[in-house]
């Protein structure tokens, strides 16, 4: 659009708002105070509560450890008949994934999506990704795609497998944003993912597997931080 039109619209809109804006701009909302008052549920561990919530959104949660997760993954791959698995090449998961049975062909997300589309859309059965943490309150995963694990890795394939370390769980979205200092370092795309995609647009009947993944499997790794 014409830059002059844009500049004109901008100054007209801002002028109207400035003219009417109240002199008193009010006090900052007490977000921290609100979350400070929220009691942490004590009935069970944060990992247990996360898993319960995640399952309520029809995510499959598989408890494992830093030592046996690759075996758990192999079982899932076999059980679901996954023949084409997509992953990022330089993530901490890569070695474990590479050890999978040869019956599964591994695809590394090495090229740009444009040239990779035929494989990505037509072949890949599942994408496996790391996570930056999870939220116990809602059973959500924090997924920050990057150069190694692009956005479509967790979006286009019908199955999304996510690896989550229990020590990266937070009670609420607010707590996660604070602890992980989101505001200063957001990636181009940051996501919360809660269960597989779904819709209730036809007569309010809930169906899983709308446009995103139809299944979400979470490998929940228990054990020491950094293990």
């Amino acid at each position: 659009m014409n830059p002059a039109d844009n500049a004109r619209a901008r100054s007209a809109i801002l002028a109207r708002l400035r003219e009417a804006a109240p002199a008193d701009t009010g006090t900052a909302p007490g977000v921290a105070a609100y979350y400070g008052r929220l009691a942490t549920p004590e009935r069970s561990s944060i990992a247990t509560r996360f898993a319960e919530r995640a399952r309520s959104w029809r995510a499959e949660v598989v408890d494992c450890t830093a030592h046996n997760w690759a075996e758990a993954l192999a079982r899932i791959v076999a059980a679901k008949g996954i023949r084409h698995l997509l992953a990022g090449r330089t993530t901490p998961l890569a070695a474990g994934i590479a050890a999978l049975a040869p019956a599964t062909s591994l695809h590394w997300y090495d090229e740009t999506m444009e040239t990779f589309k035929p494989v990505l859309f037509d072949q890949i059965d599942a994408g496996i990704s790391t996570t930056r943490g999870g939220i116990a309150d809602t059973g959500s995963l924090i997924v920050w795609p990057d150069a190694d694990e692009p956005r479509t890795l967790s979006l286009v394939p019908p199955i999304h497998i996510a690896v989550l370390h229990a020590h990266t769980l937070h009670e609420t979205l607010y707590a996660a944003m604070q602890a992980q200092r989101w505001a200063g370092q957001l990636p181009t795309n940051a996501l919360l993912v809660t269960g597989p995609s779904k819709t209730a647009d036809i007569q309010r009947l809930l169906v899983y597997g709308a446009h995103g993944p139809k299944q979400l499997v979470i490998l929940l790794l228990h054990g020491e931080a950094g293990a």
Partner: protein
Amino acid sequence: MSAERPTADPRAFKDNSRLVLADPVLRRNFRGAMDFLTDKRAAQFPDADAFAELRDLGKQIRQHALANLPQLLMQLETRLHENGIHLHWAEDAAAANAIFLDLARRHDAPTMVKGKSMVSEEIGLNHEMAAHGIACIETDMGEYILQLDGDRPSHIIMPAIHKTKEDVAKIFATHIPGAGYTEDVEELIAIGRRALRNEFRTAKIGVSGVNFLVAETGSLVLVENEGNGRLSTTVPDVHIAITGIEKVVATLDHIAPLFTLLTRSATGQAVTTYLNVISGPRRADEKDGPREVHLILLDNGRSQAYREEHFRATLQCIRCGACMNHCPVYARIGGLSYGTTYPGPIGAIISPHLMNLDSTRDLPTASSLCGACGEVCPVGIPIPDLLMRLREAGRHSHPAAQQRQALKGQGAARSIVEVVAWKAWRLLYAHSALYALFAWIAPRLRVLAVAARSGWTRTRAPLRPARRSLREQLATRTPLHSRKALRDRHSPD
């Protein structure tokens, strides 16, 4: 659904409502959907005090954002620029459509895939683009169904709630090549998914709305369940987002409470499948994501609502739809009757600003003022109070001194017959002699009372003065209660 459909014109509100009220299938669909949504919301907020506390926070956040709106928009502009997101300003629908058209031409895009966006409905994007040979493909399942059928959304969150699965089965079988007839909802969704996959894969432009903008980080925040929003904003080369200027909040942590208020109020879910925070196009080392991200900020009457302190509260809205789910009028006449992009109580209070009060004059009357909308609103908008103010504004033009704040079309609902009737009423009730004369004449002329009065007599018996006025009846009633005795009984002590 009957062959005749409610029209997309708020001036036809009364006729539209009548049409829907006479359609038992539509009424059952709306009623069922509203009961479902209100129950689900109630389950999310079991504790009234906890809800009140969270709502107060949501209200503070939105009020704080509006109080600082010009500054926040400037800050947003700077951050977006740093993030590599192009910002466009549009004063009205035509300007916004021109921006879309320009971008579509520049990228030589014959189609655009669309995530759900009420603002794009507001500007009539699909229609405008079609006029220039560009196809906008709705990808939200509900919107997709409506687009195939040439119908309109009846709810801002669940656009196709007025359709049954049988309706959808027919629509898909008719319009999607190769889709057989099935009433199995899982299969229907699978058909929709298959049909749209290829569109996502090939479209050059993806369009989306925005739920929140964050000034601090220059981010666009999208809330959704289906994944079509993520696909539309990830796979195509260009992402164009459009939203209203009021959607901005100051800081990222403000999103946390607003997100939970939105999902719980809207569909009664603690969370949606995706919260999608977009803060830039694909970086040089990244392998996917759009190469260009554009944000169009639309005014279209919002700055008018902003001018008046009370009406400004309208802009706090986070478009959850709870007010319509709980509205006894909406539950009966449904969203199509309003003839506006935004139906229900929020539609009644926002549409007069987006359009004008003249064409939307009937909407503020579509309320029993029961107060349910104001009670459930997650950001504390005093909707019933605003409805009253709009009714008032519809009847009276603003005194000249306050002309600056006048609404477009103010005083439009004024009717001469009504004005004369009220003047006469005031005269009669202020002068006892006149009133006595009236009370004497009225019963004697009762035979002349018109038998059919439009509106009233459609469903009710005609009104007719009694044979004898109340005064006459009282005066002759019984000697036990003289006027004095009556007076004594009713005096305070």
